[in-house]
Amino acid sequence: MVNQLAARNVCFGYPDGPRVLHGVSLELARGELVSLVGPNGSGKSTLLRCMAGLAELDAGEVLLDGSPLRVGTPRERALNVAVVPQFLPSLFDVRVEDFVLGGRYARIDRWVGPGASDREAIEKALVACDVIECRGRAMSELSGGQRQRVVVARAVAQEAAVLLVDEPTTSLDPDHQVTIFELLARLACEGRIVLVVTHELNLAAQFSAAMAVLHEGRLVARGSVDALMRSEVLTPVYGERLHFGRMDDGRPFVVPRARLLRRPQG
């Protein structure tokens, strides 16, 4: 059983580019949904790639229960870490069920093919993500919300202890945004390590056990929702135009505040 995924002092820059991450340390524990927030270009997705073992670090290390993640083969990593990417090419000719079967790749024996346990995992994942009725359809026929849930379903079918999710709610309506976060929170409750990169501060605040704020490649805050959803923490990162408030039940929220535009008089 995997209990912890930890980034230790991670530094990373793309070839021919400026450094993106400057010594980031972040620990994720079993059973917790952690949201990683920060402005555009702060390095969130890059940190997620690093923590998935998909990037060669310039310095620092990513440890899965204390052992370096990048030592193993991609197959060994995929048994422990699943990634929900932000973008996928159109994949117009792939059936939903076959797409989700991709999540089982690391577990399927090349010479035997998918077995009963694989079919069961796919079925369970499709049910958990509420897309079981789409199983026979082509990816191109799905709505944005269904498609996003199918991509999450593939990661769920992977049955990895760690789930790293990159902006799962972009292009989804509010109802579907909540559905996705509910699903991720449930997956965390079942004993997974879940990290979500998101711009949806309020959803993150409602569903996360903890939040982490990345700014210009540095982790500037990590803590409980109450400790982080404050002007002192978020204004230096996102700027002045935020309004902080509390919902009926006392949970914090934050909305962008537009300057009122007055029509010139006379």
């Binding site: 991609p74 090419p89 010479w111």
Partner: protein, 354 residues
Amino acid sequence: MTMLSRTFPAAVGYGLLLALLAVGSVLLGSSGIGAGEVLEGSAAMLGLSEPLERSTQAIVELRVWRALCTLGVGAALALSGGLIQGMFRNALASPSLIGVTGGASLGAAFAILIIGGYAPRLVLESSAGLDALLVPLFSFAMALGTTALVAWIASARGRASVTTLLLVGIAVNMCVAGAFAAIQYLTLEEWEVSRAILAWTFGTLDDRSGFHCLTVFAGLAVSALAVPFVARELDLLKGGEEDAEALGVDVAGTKRIALIAAALAASAAVAVAGQIAFVGLVVPHLLRLCGLHSYRQLLWHALPAGAAFLLGADVLQRWLFGAGALQPGVMMSVVGGPFFLFLLVRSRREVSTW
């Protein structure tokens, strides 16, 4: 059981189709040999009956080798095309378009030069006795080199874009054409060598022997061994290299195996029949039109479908035009060019998003 019940009807269908085409191919010809003689001659090749009169037996044997070689070449080109399209994640890639068959032909031309005596004495002496193997070996080496070069240049940033791929293909084909022109100019005086090299650029299936047959099927068999190791991986690569890696795919390893297998299949075909374009592009396309999108199915179907496609085209043109028919390589270029244009027109929207 389900696997068997699914593949069995397809296997029977392909078997019947290929048998029908092979019979048609063997029966077609100008020398007035009847079906009975063809049957007897073929049986004699298997040691089942007495050989026919010498020249008749020779003609029957030539026809049988031609049919078998055509099957092998078609299958090898289609497999190579399927692998290359998967590797470059692009349905417009093909062994001839990106220069692999061109490279292989150049290799064959070098081999013919050596056999023809155009090489330093040292090379000539050490290669004596290897003559038969020189053409396939040089083809393979050059095909592998060309594919690796194309892959290396086109995937500078991890993903081979169509534009880069086609431009690199054009550049490689230009280099090959230049080298060919130079070789042909130098060998103008020696018409036998010159003619042999020229034949390679046209793609010919005349005068094939058992050795040619063995060459193409050996190359085909070895490259087909790669299919189980890359088919699922190529399917997952459709989502991008990083996505595939996150799912557990050894991306570099997959591309390496697919590259070697594709080069081997293409060079086996070129070593036997010279340059035959468009089979590698068209056959995977036709299979996709039939609903076979997964490489797990497409790569296997490419073998019999490619064989049937090339032999069918060969039989059709010999039946239509008689003995003076074009070579299959020439005909494929004539028919394949417009087909490629059709594909481009059909995918105009995709083109604009390059």
